[in-house]
Symmetry: C2
Subunit: 527 residues, 2 copies
């Protein structure tokens, strides 16, 4: 296609939202009219299914739950006045709580103000807050946020060491729907213990975001506050619930602007017309790229440092929603789209080499931010600024990829503001929802996550069992004999792994023998 024809195609497909000043350009996805026409029936069905979902249909059939994250930013759409009121109240409560914290009305027992926020959560309870903190937190926020998003003892120790004396003025936010997910539970216990060692009463510093009636909700009764996780909001779409809004508000981010941006984008993506619905244009492009089977990876490069974590946020939103074994009719389909990326132009120096010359197993999403910075710019060459370079590198990369038949989508926003971040979240939530309907999968459950958790729980139970068996042994014992005595001869490899880990951590276990030949090892429980 020559440049002028391409310019026409650019305009023909350009989407612009005047209120948000957001552009979406899918002209470099090389679908043709016949392809678009062929998808129309699927889109008609998807639009209808999405409307039913928004009206409160049970859209997560496995879990018999409604899917209501769209109601969070427009409570009037919720299927009952009670739900609408619960949403509205939770937002007001968050603002009120943040106000009290910022003004020292709620303060550490020994006085002063809270200076830091330790946010404990994983998955949907971490990725949104992390993305938003990096994108929107002021340079000098009222509370500095720190994340504990894993069960890594060394990682927790580093965070707590770096906080040092500021632990006395740290607010601790525990985010867990059930309170039963091990990682945040462990993080909470670790922080609680550390505070106890320092003579700090944890309850005076803690606040929870959790489901009604959860174990965590009970535990949190004496804490500074509890905010709701609604059962009709999934973890990966919870950023605009208390999960994301509470840490945002505590950092001084105007949360109503985030909600307003999402609401505006929700309205724009409710339109039953492919060409004027930006989420539908994204879903169309993804379907085209991967033939509706995820055959191409989605590489996401925002050309803006503050959006670095957007692709990590999208990894969860896209992959956990779309990565499914079966379709809704029970056929094995092994769906999904792999997502990765960090930021431009930085990643150009990491792997644009492969993107342009190597495997054509991806399509690209470039995110452009028109405004370079606040205030005046330095010229780095006559007439040229650092921001011109960033802009030129984006344009150049898009062109260099297109020349080599590598497709790309470009999303352009005026600035990284709370409103636009809310809009981006809503745009991708809807695109994922529509794509899920296009490929006929349940985008709202995650059955595959359980297997690894169950295997982990079994490993931990086996660990305690092995220690008990060893306590009966006075002599060194082989791994095979130990596995047999524990009644799990076939699990000898897991037995070995458990003991190797215990031995490395001064837990009273010693492994004697040739470490390169595990079967030769003898196990000793040290007195």
């Amino acid at each position: 296609m020559d440049a002028i024809a391409l310019w026409q195609r650019y305009q023909d497909w350009l989407y612009y939202h005047p209120g948000l000043e957001l552009y979406l350009d899918v002209s470099r996805m090389r679908f043709d009219d016949a392809f678009v026409a062929s998808l129309m029936p699927k889109f008609e069905a998807a639009f209808a299914q999405m409307a039913a979902l928004e009206a409160g249909a049970i859209a997560n059939p496995d879990e018999q739950r409604m899917v209501g994250h769209y109601w969070l930013r427009d409570p009037q759409l919720a299927p009952s006045p009670e739900l609408a009121q619960a949403i509205t109240r939770s937002i007001a409560d968050i603002e009120s709580f943040a106000h009290q914290i910022h003004h020292g009305e709620i303060h550490p027992r020994r006085g002063g103000r809270f200076t830091d926020l330790i946010s404990i959560g994983i998955g949907g309870s971490a990725l949104g807050p992390e993305f938003v903190a990096q994108a929107l937190s002021p340079d000098n926020p009222p509370l500095d946020i720190h994340f504990i998003d894993n069960t890594d003892p060394a990682g927790i120790d580093r965070t707590l060491h770096q906080l040092g004396d500021r632990l006395y003025s740290s607010l601790v936010l525990v985010i867990s729907k059930s309170g039963g997910t091990p990682e945040p539970r462990n993080g909470m216990i670790e922080v609680q213990q550390k505070m106890m060692d320092l003579g700090i009463n944890f309850a005076d510093h803690a606040v929870a975001v959790t489901g009604y009636g959860s174990h965590l909700a009970q535990l949190a009764e004496p804490w500074l506050g509890t905010f709701p996780m609604f059962d009709w909001v999934g973890g990966r779409t919870s950023e605009l619930s208390a999960v994301g809004l509470l840490p945002a508000a505590l950092q001084g981010i105007p949360i109503r602007e985030m909600l307003a941006g999402a609401k505006e984008m929700d309205a724009a993506t409710r339109v039953h017309d492919l060409k004027t619905n930006p989420a539908a244009l994204l879903a169309l492009s993804w379907y085209f790229a991967g033939e509706g089977k995820g055959k191409k990876d989605m590489v996401v490069l925002p050309y803006k440092d503050s959006l670095l974590l957007f692709s990590r946020y999208l990894q969860q939103l896209v992959m956990e929603s779309l990565g499914k074994e079966k379709d809704l009719d029970g056929n094995i389909v092994n769906q999904g789209i792999a997502v990765y990326g960090n930021k431009g132009s930085t990643d150009q120096h990491a792997y644009v080499q492969q993107l342009r010359d190597g495997l054509p197993n991806f399509f690209m999403t470039l995110i452009e931010v028109l405004r370079d910075r606040e205030g005046a710019a330095v010229e780095v060459e006559p007439g040229i600024t650092s921001g011109d370079y960033l802009s030129g590198l984006l344009t150049g990369t898009r062109q260099a990829l297109y020349e080599k038949q590598r497709d790309s989508i470009t999303v352009t926003i005026p600035q990284v503001t709370p409103k636009l971040v809310g809009a981006l979240i809503a745009l991708y939530e809807r695109a994922v929802g529509l794509y899920g309907f296009l490929v006929n999968i349940n985008a709202y459950h995650q059955p595959g996550v359980e297997a690894g958790k169950k295997a982990a729980a079994a490993t931990l139970a086996l660990q305690n069992q092995l220690v008990q068996v060893l306590q009966q042994e006075s002599q060194p014992i082989s791994l095979a004999a130990l596995a047999s005595k524990a009644g799990v001869p076939e699990q000898i490899e897991t037995v070995y792994k458990i003991l190797r880990h215990l031995a490395a951590n001064d837990r009273g276990i010693e492994l004697q023998g040739n470490l390169s030949q595990p079967a030769s090892l003898l196990v000793i429980l040290k007195p």
Copy 2:
């Protein structure tokens, strides 16, 4: 394969390095003996090619350069005494410089000590230092490091704002082989301007890592120091040159331990025997997973917060090395392996759903760290620690994936120490080198990176040209007319993009008309 047979396979393929206490387990890559036998001739050739490369053969034929990163940790192997001496001297110089900085012998002009380090670089001059800082920097390092790894004005502003008054005691490190790469050049100019505004003499705060005789080397003559980037070290293998060692030493990381770990791993991966060479085992596994064509993505999950950036480091090392259009015989092969991942168990909550149930388009690398933390552990349940959970989640995920025919490699290290980080870098450098030989590509150039840079440079030249044309116009002018007057009617889309960016940044350009219809817009140069 039943559990006992699998245990036998585990032991048959287990690699253990006693000095490094490092294990490599490829037993969950389901290759068979016939596959291994079929690759033997390729491995024989690859071992021989690697030996020639280490002896100083021109291994980067496009650029007529030697590839010498292995000499950095064992200078006696360098092909001449002069090279060996240059390496040895650069390490001593780095240690001496860091010592002088730490002890205030080199200090800011107004006194006191340097407190912060601003490291300016991109690609190979950023990813290694960022990975190592996160992995190894002490909790309270002698200098806090901050990275400027992009040409994003807002990102630079945020870093400088957050530094605030500490800019007066900040050392600035500019890393650029030629000094001509725009991103670090722009970062340098921005920081220099900011310091000038504060009355700080940049030269008194600056140090360079650059090639002999480069533009930057000339510029840096009056600075605090210049350290060499050897022309036989590529950016993506430069972490154990001054590029990585200088920032590491300044943070108080013992760089000779990093070098010693790499040297030990280099020796282990020089062995001409597949089963006892861990880099060869990795290359074999990668070849098996993707049929020597990169058909599967490499998902890298270290179960340790401090290794979070390892996969981002590997993205460059693997993708820029292997992502090539042509093989060494000139055939179009479009090689590569896509790499992504963050950390476990965190990512289990993001996308293990897709990995287990969805597209089987990947293989996994799990990185296990045996030692959980320094000091004693809290029990989160009777007999169980947070670290036991992390370990159990790794084991459980590996098992849950294997049950679904998803292959995985496990690398186990005792702790995250300078020695082991050096060893990991060397292990993957060698694996990438061997794999490059297996698939017959030049792993040491990056021709595809130029196209985007050239297109960007052309865009910036066009920007200045458009501004000149507009200065002759007294009336609003259409985009088409402007593109014609600039002599580039076919580049109207780029013209539009340039003007839209200028208009968003108070650069004296206004666009009038319907923003959703670019062809309708009129351009005005404001007085």
